[in-house]
């Protein structure tokens, strides 16, 4: 996903002389080409995310489109007040990019896991929030951000769902993509974990349960129409995210649907529940441990539908 992002940047930067790319001394080996080709537009500010965000605001206020780039919580939570006051309040044209969304950096440990960022960033006024599920979405969001004005957050995952794009599909920011049609239940996922939802849907299909799969790449603003349709047309909604369930994708769906007076037949938020991802393991292992993998999703659906769960692999 990171390579898709950098690839889109390399492709688009010649048309965007106003772009400035700031990194907090991260991106070993992946930013070399950008730095070599666009040295005036590349700035390693050092391990200083508060300054990076303030400098980004200053550059943006002077007319630049600015990307800030670092791992997980560093360009987000570490400098949250700079994002709030300096970037969002001034509607500064800064795109905050986190690599290692969710538990991407598995065994590195919780310090490098971004598991509350969706919740926190989406609460900021004027901030748009994107969490692509695959390389195509990552590249398309990047292209969109180069022409978009104002603050935005892009969460890049190390994992990616298998390619979901259809021939001729046009990326529409703010719209939920329906990856697979189905009427029994809706699996609404954000980020690479959508791949687990697809696997779960395959298992459930063998049981005669047809899932609608939604990729919520734009977490904010949330596409209420597609969600409302899912609530009324399918047997229930399961939200899936590598983020705290509080106020993340699941929280956003609940808030939005309830306020609109649309109630799915059931609703389950799958994500981290009041816990840090403190167990050591790969992203895949951690998804299993925290009951966020395909098996856990399928079990959740079967339980909700009141179907005796056969033994799932």
């Amino acid at each position: 996903m990171r390579d898709a992002f950098v690839g889109a940047l390399l492709e688009q930067t010649p048309q965007h002389p106003e772009l400035m790319f700031l990194t907090g001394d991260l991106g070993f080996g992946v930013l070399n080409e950008f730095q070599a080709r666009f040295p005036r537009q590349f700035l390693n500010v050092g391990v200083a995310e508060q300054n990076m965000s303030g400098v980004a605001a200053g550059l943006a206020i002077e007319g630049h489109t600015v990307f800030t780039y670092s791992i997980g919580n560093f360009p987000t939570l570490r400098c949250l007040e700079q994002i709030r006051n300096d970037i969002c309040f001034h509607r500064a044209n800064v795109k905050i990019v986190c690599i290692g969304g969710g538990m991407s950096y598995g065994p590195v440990g919780m310090s490098h896991h971004a598991t509350e960022d969706l919740t926190i960033l989406r609460s900021l006024p004027g901030m748009e929030v994107f969490s692509p599920c695959d390389h195509w979405e990552a590249a398309e969001v990047t292209r969109y951000l180069l022409t978009h004005r104002g603050p935005a957050y892009l969460r890049l995952d190390k994992s990616a769902a298998p390619a979901t794009v259809r021939q001729g599909e046009v990326f529409r920011p703010g719209h939920i993509r329906t990856i697979r049609e189905g009427a029994d239940i809706t699996l609404a996922a954000t980020g690479g974990i959508l791949g687990e939802a697809i696997l779960a849907a395959d298992v459930l299909r063998e049981q005669g349960i047809f899932c609608r799969i939604l990729s919520v790449c734009t977490v904010k603003p949330l596409d209420i129409n597609t969600l409302a349709a899912a609530a009324s047309e399918t047997g229930g909604i399961v939200s899936i995210e590598e983020n705290a369930v509080d106020g993340g994708l699941g929280g956003a769906i609940a808030e939005t649907l309830m306020e609109a007076g649309v109630f799915p037949k059931f609703f389950v938020r799958m994500g981290l529940r009041n816990t840090f991802s403190s167990v050591v393991g790969s992203q895949k292992y951690l998804r299993m441990f925290y009951s966020l993998d395909a098996t856990a999703i399928a079990r959740t659906v079967l339980a909700k539908l009141g179907i005796d769960a056969p033994v799932l692999a």
Binding site: G54, V55, A57, I61, N85
Partner: protein, 269 residues
């Protein structure tokens, strides 16, 4: 009185009236930097109230946003907006909130949370250099916000990039929110710190308008380095009972104290 001193006096009188009427704090911190604001807006900053978006204007960032009333007063006096508007400070529905707001004509960025101004100013200075523009970026810091790590992150950054179009002025009144700086977190040797961070440093009496103007004429103090002026000041300067007291960081000037303070300011010639 020279024009800068005249302006400083009007800033102090306005700020006293504004904080009194609105019930606002920080009068001591405003008085402390009133002469610096007056010098900047009396000919140092190349700004024009009729062209607030002129790309070539000097930028000013009041990082010590709690002195917002002082900045509003300076801007109104220089014609950025009507002086009458000053008395809406702190009032319901006004643009003039306690801390500096970019909604107000002439103000580049909103501040208030300490340690935010210098990173933004550094970004603005970096942008100016990319454009090969000759304008400068001035940033007024409090001594208290030199406790903030982000201030020093930006200090490292600005020196590393040799941002000679960036000027820091530290309002060094040696009193912060709850106590003297020396009791809270000592900053000394203060000038040495900025020098060690590879800034070109000068120290002046921050209430001496002629010294301030002399100093500002020499920007950048050294080629290839950002400039830092440590302005030695007195918190509450201009009203005897407010000077050098922790109390007047937060105390609101009202009643007899307001009358006495106004009388002292008006007396000063």
């Amino acid at each position: 009185m020279n024009p800068t001193q005249e302006l400083a006096k009007r800033i102090r009188v306005h700020a006293l009236q504004m904080t009194s009427k609105g019930g606002g704090s920080h009068i001591g911190a405003i008085f402390s930097c009133a002469d610096i604001l007056a010098a900047l807006y009396d000919g140092v900053l190349k700004v024009d109230p009729t062209k607030t978006n002129d790309p070539g204007r000097d930028r000013f960032v009041l990082s010590k946003g709690h002195a917002g009333a002082g900045l509003y007063a300076a801007l109104a006096e220089q014609g950025f907006f009507p002086v009458e508007k000053l008395l809406t400070h702190y009032q319901n529905g006004s643009e003039l909130c306690g801390h500096a707001s970019h909604e107000v004509p002439g103000i580049e960025v909103s501040t208030g949370a300490l340690g935010h101004g210098l990173p933004m100013a550094a970004g603005m200075a970096y942008a100016g250099r990319l454009k090969s523009s000759s304008h400068r970026v001035f940033c007024l810091l409090s001594d208290g916000e030199c406790d903030e790590g982000s201030t020093w992150e930006a200090a490292l950054f600005a020196a590393h990039h040799g941002l000679s179009n960036l000027v820091v002025i530290v309002d060094y009144n040696r009193i912060q929110g709850l106590a003297p700086v020396s009791e809270v977190v000592e900053l000394e040797p203060f000038a040495d710190k900025w020098t060690a961070f590879r800034w070109s440093v000068r120290e002046e009496n921050g209430h001496d308008s002629e010294a301030l103007h002399r100093c500002f004429r020499d920007i950048p103090f050294e080629v290839g380095k950002p400039s830092c002026l440590i302005a030695h000041t007195t918190k509450g300067k201009g009203v005897s009972f407010m000077e050098n007291t922790v109390l007047w960081h937060y105390r609101i000037p009202q009643g007899d104290e307001f009358v006495a303070a106004l009388a002292e300011l008006e007396e000063r010639s």
